[in-house]
């Protein structure tokens, strides 16, 4: 573009740079605080088991999720059947499901007094016990099998259906078809799926808090939680957070090296016309689909059933916790929305857009616990971090949502610019008028979707709040966790249902609002 071609940037650029500054502070200040507090010298011996378990569970979770996703995504890609759309939607549900609620649903199916244990008891076998590594893996596969499936499915759907037609006409052998279609898809999508899931599982706190524990199944984050919460040992918490950061950054660097575009969600549209009419593969695909639907669907049904039964036992603190959660979600969503809009705009217009986008991805690599521990150390000399539990939670949730929102909003901005940028510049449409008349109406669906995701995730989050919350402050997920901790399972299930309804409701509201007057 020539000197004359740049659009007029008056206010948006300083705003974008201010947002970038906020992100930089959010990433760097906690890290510097951690470094200043961590004791020099090697990692203490007690930390090694936690590091080992973290790496073990995250690697196994990623491997199992992706391995199971391969047949599932393939079945979804090559079969057209009644309810396929529903199945794809079902696969989207775990991403929005608050993790503590999912744990409850999984326990109802796989736990000591769950459905499978009852069935085993009939034939005289002992009850299942999923606490420990098994439970953590089960929950992580429950969350990430759908995610991996959607990522792989996008790869398979990118293969033009004409290629399949050609393969059918040439009657290619299964081996040849695998080499021609499946290998390239897997080579493209599997490494990034593995790494994304590894990163998510590495910093998955609530699942390990509920299902892990004990010296044999404790992660780095759980160790941070114990150091801060029970021993008030800032030095070792800081040391642990640095370990977590290093592992996270290494995984992120690998992910960036291997992963090209890894998109979440997005259109999973028309199924392929299938030319393979043999019965064997068809039955196999059918079995895979049914098993997957049960694996994901049964815990969801259990959440609904137990929740309905528990509505009679709702605790008195419910309304207060609900308003607190809603307030935290509103604050963090607003902050993340504002930041992501101005940052997306800066990335779009700046020459160093790529570097800025990469920088915001650091937020994903620095886990919420790393940021939380850092903030704890920064605030501690001046004020009680416990008194600031809610603002800190909102801030950390916003930092978590920001990279996700950017990945949705920025491509939409690019599209508007590509389609209508010249027209708008030719007409002198700029600044606020351009946002109001062109950008906002055009990116409204993406904006609604991203805002819905951020709000739902913040509503259901059980993470840093556990580090900071004093006994009299609670969000809905925290209330539910506390009820589970005191074995009031019925009340917990009731709260869980309210929590799911609020999370999904928020997502539905914004997503629907975004598509309401779609162009």
């Amino acid at each position: 573009m020539g000197a004359c071609a740049e659009p007029v940037i008056r206010l948006t650029k300083p705003l974008g740079i201010a947002a970038l500054f906020v992100v930089a502070v959010l990433v760097l200040a906690p890290v510097l605080a951690l470094i200043s507090r961590a004791e020099s010298g090697g990692v203490s011996a007690a930390v090694w088991p936690a590091i080992r378990f973290t790496l073990l569970q995250a690697s196994l979770s990623a491997l199992i999720s992706v391995a199971l996703a391969v047949p599932l995504a393939k079945a979804l890609a090559r079969r057209a059947f009644f309810g396929r759309g529903l199945m794809v939607s079902l696969l989207g549900a775990p991403f929005l499901l608050p993790s503590i609620v999912a744990v409850l649903g999984l326990l109802a199916i796989w736990g000591r007094s769950g459905v499978f244990s009852d069935m085993l008891a009939v034939v005289g076998l002992g009850p299942l016990d999923i606490y420990g590594l098994e439970g953590v893996l089960l929950a992580h596969v429950f969350f990430n099998l759908p995610l991996a499936t959607r990522m792989l499915l996008q790869g398979w759907q990118a293969v033009p259906s004409e290629h399949y037609r050609l393969a059918a006409q040439l009657d290619l052998a299964p081996r040849a078809k695998f080499a021609l279609f499946d290998m390239p898809v897997l080579r493209g999508a599997a490494p990034s799926a593995l790494l994304v899931i590894f990163m998510l599982c590495m910093s998955s706190f609530a699942v390990v808090l509920a299902l892990g524990g004990g010296p044999k199944a404790s992660t780095i984050e759980l160790a941070i939680y114990q150091a801060l919460r029970f021993e008030f040992d800032l030095a070792s918490a800081a040391q642990l957070a640095i370990v977590q950061l290093v592992v996270g950054l290494s995984a992120a660097a690998l992910a960036f090296h291997f992963g090209k575009a890894t998109r979440f969600g997005g259109g999973l549209g028309a199924p392929f016309q299938n030319w393979d009419t043999r019965r064997g593969p068809k039955l196999l695909d059918g079995a895979v689909l049914v098993l997957a639907a049960l694996f994901v669907g049964l815990p969801l049904l259990a959440i609904l059933a137990k929740g309905l039964a528990g509505l009679g036992a709702l605790p008195s603190g419910l309304w207060g916790a609900f308003t607190v959660s809603l307030g935290v979600a509103a604050a963090s969503t607003l902050l993340a929305l504002g930041l992501s809009l101005v940052l997306a705009r800066l990335i779009e217009t700046s020459r160093r857009g790529g570097a800025i986008e990469l920088f915001t991805l650091l937020l994903l690599a620095t886990s919420p616990f790393v940021i939380g521990t850092g903030l704890f150390i920064i605030i501690n000399p001046f004020a009680s971090p416990f008194a600031l539990a809610l603002p800190i939670t909102a801030l950390v949730n916003a930092a978590l949502a920001l990279p996700l929102m950017l990945r949705i909003i920025r491509p939409a901005l690019s599209r508007v610019r590509q389609d209508y940028g010249r027209l708008a510049e030719g007409l002198g449409l700029s600044g606020w008028a351009r946002f109001r008349l062109l950008t906002f109406p055009q990116i409204r669906p993406e904006l609604g979707f991203a805002t819905g995701l951020a709000a739902a995730l913040s509503m259901g989050d059980l993470g840093v709040i556990t580090l900071f919350a004093p006994p009299d402050v609670q969000t809905l997920p925290l209330l539910m966790y506390r009820l589970m901790g005191s074995y009031q399972m019925e009340a917990a299930a009731g709260v869980g249902l309210v929590l799911v309804a609020s999370s999904f409701g928020l997502f539905y509201l914004f997503d629907k609002g975004g598509r309401g007057a779609g162009a």
């Binding site: 389609d419 510049e425 030719g426 700029s430 008028a433 109406p441």
Partner: protein, 230 residues
Amino acid sequence: MLALKNIEIVQGDFRLTADIELQSDQTTAILGPSGGGKSTLLTALAGFVAHSGDIFWRGKSLKALAPADRPVSMLFQEHNLFPHLSITQNVGLGLRPDLKLSAAEKAKVETALNRVGLAGKGASLPRALSGGQRQRAALARALLRQKPIWLLDEPFAALGPGLRQEMLELVEEIRAEQGATLLLVTHAPEDAKRIASEVVFVEAGQAHPAQATGPFFAHPSSALRAYLGN
């Protein structure tokens, strides 16, 4: 007079040179094979493409002007209207980019819509209109903007022959009323013969100097003969 002095545009492997002068208050057809650089020439005039050399309109350089400040209105092949804004709003942008239209300005929009044959369509969204009607709306906006130079980048290429002819005649009629200078990119010789007084032939990265339409077709150069296929 519109003068392009020593223009050179480089985009990757592609290079376009132009050193031409065009008379004002008339229509010039920019003719040539696709990929030859016709559209690139227009987008440079509109200020969307960096180039060396300079462009002068009535003796004043355009080089430092932003697209919106140049004395040009441009019609593209598509995406001339914002799909979420009504026809009235789309046309109204030609008067006020923030769409805060006074009653008098609204009346002007209505008049422009009447002029291009879109009376009563103001409240519709672009998708409710046919391709030809959409380009009429874009034309109404160009009319309101009162810019002395109109750049049309094959805006009627997707229309059938009868409709294309009708639109060209409408454009030429309104251009003559306004005394505007029109540059029309086309790959169809009959479009040039119909409304252009001069033709600039663009091929293989070079814009040839303008020639009067009659002699241009009466004594075709070898490059033109190759393009016309006879």
